[in-house]
C-alpha cells in the first residue's frame, strides 16, 4: 500500500539546519566519457521544501536528476536520498519524472499509471485504484483515463508522466522540467498542489527554465560549469544582480552572462 512506508521526513513540522537533508550531494563529479558535466557539486535540500534547479541547456540538470535517481553512478563524490544511496532498495521512495515523458504509447492513461503504481509496490488492488483515481483527478485527466497515450496532446502526456511520478505518494519527487508544455492555468494549479505536498512534508527537486516555476520554489540553485554557482531563496537570487528592482529573469540572465563566478554566493 502506498501509505505503508514511513515517509521519511513527511509530517515533520520542525525544520531547521540540524535536520538531515532529504536530498544530498557532496563533492559530486560526473563526466560523460571525456566531457565533464558535474564538478565537485554540492547540494542539500531540506525535507518539505521545493528546490528549483535553473541553468542553461546542457548545464547538467538532467544529469544531476539521473544521478540522484540512481540511474547514473557518480565518478566521485556521494549522493544520498533520505540518507540512503539511491538504488533499487529505496527507489519506491522516489517519484521520478524524466524530461522526456516515458510512457507506454499504446496503453491507456489508466493502464500506464496503474502499471507504475504496481511496480512501486502499491499491491492492493483497491488501494491502487484509489491512488490512480486521485492522481488522475490531480492532473485533471480523470475523464481521459481510458484513452491511449497516442491520442493525447503533448501537454496531456506530460501530465500523465507527472501522474506516474506521483501515484505512489513518494516522500521525494525528482521532476525534470515537469511544467513544459502546460498551459498557464494548469501550471498554477500544479504549483498549488506542489505547495500542499511540501507543506505535508514532501521534498521536491525540480528543474525548469521558467521564472514562473522558479518563483514558486523555496530555494533555487543556478547550475553552471558543473556546479551550483548561486543558491538561495528567489529573493536572495534576485538581489545578486545588485539592482533593487531586478526580477528573477534579470538575475538569471545576470548569472548566465557573468563570467566565471567562482567566488559567487553559494550559501
Amino acid at each position: 500500500m502506498a501509505s505503508e512506508h514511513d515517509n521519511g521526513g513527511r509530517g515533520g513540522t520542525m525544520r531547521g539546519p540540524e535536520q538531515r537533508p532529504a536530498v544530498e550531494a557532496r563533492g559530486l563529479s560526473f563526466a560523460f566519457g571525456r566531457r565533464p558535466v558535474l564538478r565537485d557539486l554540492v547540494l542539500s535540500v531540506q525535507p518539505g521544501t521545493a528546490f528549483g534547479m535553473l541553468g542553461a541547456n546542457g548545464s547538467g540538470k538532467t544529469t544531476l536528476v539521473r544521478l540522484l535517481a540512481g540511474l547514473l553512478k557518480p565518478d566521485s563524490g556521494d549522493v544520498r536520498v533520505l540518507g540512503n544511496p539511491p538504488g533499487p532498495g529505496f527507489s519506491d521512495r522516489i517519484g521520478y519524472m524524466p524530461q522526456l515523458n516515458a510512457l507506454y504509447m499504446s496503453l491507456t492513461v489508466r493502464e500506464n499509471v496503474e502499471f507504475f503504481a504496481r511496480m512501486c509496490g502499491v499491491k492492493d488492488r483497491q488501494a491502487r485504484t484509489a491512488a490512480v483515481d486521485s492522481v488522475l483527478e490531480l492532473v485533471e485527466l480523470a475523464d481521459r483515463g481510458r484513452d491511449r497515450i497516442t491520442s493525447l496532446s503533448g501537454g496531456m502526456r506530460q501530465r500523465v508522466s507527472l501522474a506516474v511520478a506521483l501515484v505512489h505518494t513518494p516522500p521525494v519527487l525528482l521532476l525534470d522540467e515537469p511544467t513544459v508544455g502546460l498551459d498557464p492555468e494548469l501550471r498554477a494549479t500544479f504549483w498549488k498542489h506542489f505547495g500542499r505536498m511540501t507543506r505535508e512534508g514532501t521534498t521536491i527537486l525540480i528543474s525548469s527554465h521558467t521564472m514562473d516555476d522558479a518563483s514558486h520554489c523555496d530555494r533555487l540553485g543556478f547550475l553552471r560549469d558543473g556546479r551550483f554557482i548561486a543558491q538561495g531563496t528567489p529573493d536572495e537570487l534576485r538581489s545578486t544582480t545588485g539592482v533593487a528592482s531586478a526580477s528573477l529573469e534579470d538575475a538569471f540572465l545576470h548569472l548566465v552572462r557573468s563570467g566565471s563566478l567562482d567566488g559567487a554566493p553559494s550559501s
Binding site: L71, P88, P98, S106, L107, R118, M119
Partner: protein, 243 residues
C-alpha cells in the same frame, strides 16, 4: 523477484503487442508467408524438403522470435520506460522474466504456426510426435527470446537490432545443418558447429521428425539448448541495466 511485479510486466507486454494491430498481424502472417514461399519452392523435391524441414522450422522459429523480442525490448529502452522502471523497486529478474513470459505467449504461437503450417500445408512427411517437436521448438523459442533481449541491450536503435541478424544467424544457418548436415561439413567446421545452439535444435528436431525418435532420445541436445537459454538469461540480467 516478486510474482506480482513479474506478472504485471508480462501482462503489460502482452497488452502492448495485442494493441499494435499491424505487428500482431505480422506476427501471424509473416511466418505463414515465409514458410509457404520456402516450403513450396521444394514442391518438386519432396525428399529434399523432408530432409531440410526440421532445419527450416528451427531457423525461422529462432529468427522470428529474435526479431519480435529484440525490437520490442529495444522500444522499452528507447522510449525511456525502462529507465523509469529502474527508478522503482523492480529488479532485473522481474523485468527479464516478465518480458520472457509476455513474449513467450506470442513467440510460442508463432512457432506453433510455423510447425503446423510446414507439416500440414507444405505437407512434409514426418514420423515422430507433433507435441514432442513442439517441445523442442519451445526450448528454442525461450532461447530466442533471451537472445533478442540480450542483443537489444547492445543496440541503440531498431536498425542495429536488424544488423545483428546476419552476424548471429549466418554462421548458424551455414554451420548448424540447414544447408547441409553437420557431418558433411569440412572437419575444421565440425567443432564450431557443435558449439552453436541451433545445431542442437536442428538435430533434436530432425531425430524426432525424420527418425521418429522420442524426446527422451534427444535429451542431451535439449539440455544443451536449455543451458544456452539459461546462460543467456543470466548474461542478459547482468547487462540489462545499461540504458
Amino acid at each position: 523477484m516478486t510474482f506480482d511485479r513479474t506478472t504485471a510486466i508480462a501482462v503489460r507486454v502482452m497488452r502492448e503487442i495485442v494493441r499494435d494491430r499491424r505487428s500482431l498481424a505480422l506476427i501471424f502472417l509473416a511466418p505463414l508467408l515465409v514458410m509457404a514461399l520456402v516450403g513450396f519452392s521444394f514442391s518438386e523435391k519432396q525428399d529434399t524438403l523432408d530432409r531440410v524441414a526440421p532445419a527450416l522450422i528451427s531457423v525461422f522459429t529462432l529468427l522470428f522470435t529474435f526479431v519480435l523480442t529484440g525490437i520490442s525490448f529495444l522500444r522499452e529502452r528507447s522510449q525511456g520506460t525502462l529507465e523509469r522502471l529502474y527508478v522503482t523497486p523492480v529488479g532485473r529478474g522481474d523485468v527479464l522474466v516478465g518480458y520472457l513470459l509476455g513474449f513467450l505467449v506470442f513467440a510460442a504461437l508463432q512457432s506453433l504456426i510455423i510447425l503446423l503450417f510446414t507439416v500440414f500445408v507444405v505437407d512434409v512427411n514426418y514420423r515422430g510426435d507433433l507435441w514432442q517437436m513442439f517441445v523442442v521448438l519451445m526450448v528454442l523459442t525461450i532461447f530466442g527470446v533471451n537472445l533478442g533481449i540480450f542483443a537489444s541491450t547492445f543496440a541503440r536503435n531498431e536498425f542495429q537490432v536488424v544488423q545483428f541478424i546476419p552476424m548471429l544467424f549466418a554462421p548458424q544457418i551455414f554451420l548448424s545443418g540447414v544447408v547441409m548436415p553437420v557431418e558433411e561439413l569440412p572437419g575444421y567446421f565440425q567443432g564450431p558447429a557443435e558449439v552453436l545452439p541451433l545445431t542442437h535444435a536442428v538435430r533434436a528436431l530432425r531425430e524426432i521428425m525424420l527418425r521418429g525418435e522420442a524426446l527422451g532420445d534427444v535429451m542431451s541436445e535439449i539440455a544443451v539448448l536449455a543451458a544456452y537459454a539459461t546462460g543467456l538469461l543470466v548474461v542478459a540480467m547482468a547487462t540489462v541495466r545499461r540504458t
